[in-house]
Every structure is written in C-alpha cells, then in structure tokens.
Symmetry: C2
Subunit: 134 residues, 2 copies
C-alpha cells in the first residue's frame, strides 16, 4: 500500500514539475540509471535521457507551456516497476497517459511516458467550457 | 540479448494476433496473473482483463478490423519488465505505441498497451499514398 502511495506521489511530482515549468525537478524525476523513452502525441518516439529531457525543455519553455493537471490516476506494481495510467487536463483539453517508473534507491524514477487523445474526460469531471465572447 | 529477442518476439506475436483477428492468440498474449490495462486512442482507459479482452474482441470483429503492422520496434528490460516502443502501420496511417510485458514462466505476457498519433512514419518508411480518383 505504501508502495502505491509513493508511486502516485512520484507521478504527481512529475506533473507538478511540468506545470511549474521546473526543469530541475523534471531532471530529478526522470531516471538516470535506466534507458528512458517518451512518446509525446504527434512527435516521433524519443529515446535516451538527452532526447527526452530536451523535449521537456522545449515544452516547458515553449510559447504555450502546459497548465497540466493529473486526474483519476491508477497505479499498479508490476515486476518491480510501477505503472500509472491517468488523465491529463491541459487547459480545456483531456489526454490519457501511461507513466512507467522504476525504483532508484528510496524513490521512484520515471523511465517512460506516453500521452495521447481520449474521447471524453474521466467520469465525474466536466469538460471545461471554452469561454464565449458575448 | 536472448531476453530482448524473446521480448520482441512476444511483441510481434501480439500484432500478428490482431492482424489475423485471432482472439485465442490475443487471449494467450495478455497476462492472466497481473492487472492489465489498455489505452486505445480515443477510448477511455480500460482496466482489468475482462475490459481489455472485450475491447480487442470489438476491434478485431468490428467493421474495419485493422490490417496492422509493427515497425521500428525498440525493446528495453526494466526492473523485471520488458518495454517495447514501436510504430504501428494501420492501412495508410501510422501510430506509435508502448507495450509493456512481464515474465510469466518461459514467456513474456502483455500487461499494458497504449497507442496514439505520430506526425510521420519512421525514418526510411514512406507514407503510403492514398489512391486518388482520376
């Protein structure tokens, strides 16, 4: 149970780092020991820490840094790794994501991330209406 | 090295089962021991073997069963699990996918799958031109 809690905490730390545009925190979240990979929607697959961290640098320093929130996270311990699936709310848009973590010392370190489209928000969440000009 | 080969073979077996509309093979590929999950593009997240297998049943028995091929697969062993990232070619469309496997006896069993959009095919592959009426 404690393992699941720390895993969900690591997942939250990742999203907070992106939302805060905190590159140091992102560098700390991602594994330094394991080959990492990242599949951003619409991007080619990124492999290795250099490519992955450069993508986050571009995203959080880009013209529209994501006001990202994690919702409805589900965590599983699988063969020594931790898998979290969750919704991502970015402004009024929703995505779904897979986040894979591995134990590094006392912490969970991120080794893989993919996010992609979803048809609707999680149950109980409403689509944020786009403000309309009167 | 042998582990990577068997992991890529398990990944190929998954795509062949989908392409062949072979539900028995798909049932064999997915784990029976670990909580499985699946994030199809545009679908809500699916959790548990019943939901996941039902989704594949709908997909392969649907009006347009996917002529799916796996390209440019990359495999990593991470903390007792096997992660494969690859491109999926479905007709003239390309997607990217994350496939997570865990050891079950002598085999790799699938525990998670997500696929989503990609901007272009893998290097060296051409986008299949859509036939144009004259």
């Amino acid at each position: 149970m404690r393992e699941i809690e720390t895993l969900l905490f690591a997942n939250e730390t990742f999203y907070r780092a992106v939302a805060d545009q905190d590159m140091d925190a992102l560098e700390g979240v991602w594994s330094v020991a394991v080959p990492v990979s990242c599949l951003h929607p619409g991007w080619p697959p990124l492999h290795g820490r250099d490519e992955v961290m450069e993508s986050w640098r571009r995203i959080i320093n880009g013209p529209a840094p994501p006001a990202i929130e994690c919702h409805a996270a589900t965590a599983h311990l699988i063969g020594g790794t931790g898998l979290v699936t969750c919704y991502e709310k970015i402004g009024a848009e929703w995505l779904i994501a897979s986040n894979l973590f591995v134990r590094e010392g006392q912490d969970w370190a991120m080794v893989h991330h993919q996010s992609g489209p979803v048809s609707q928000p999680p149950e109980g969440d409403e689509i944020t209406p786009t403000p309309q000009a009167n």
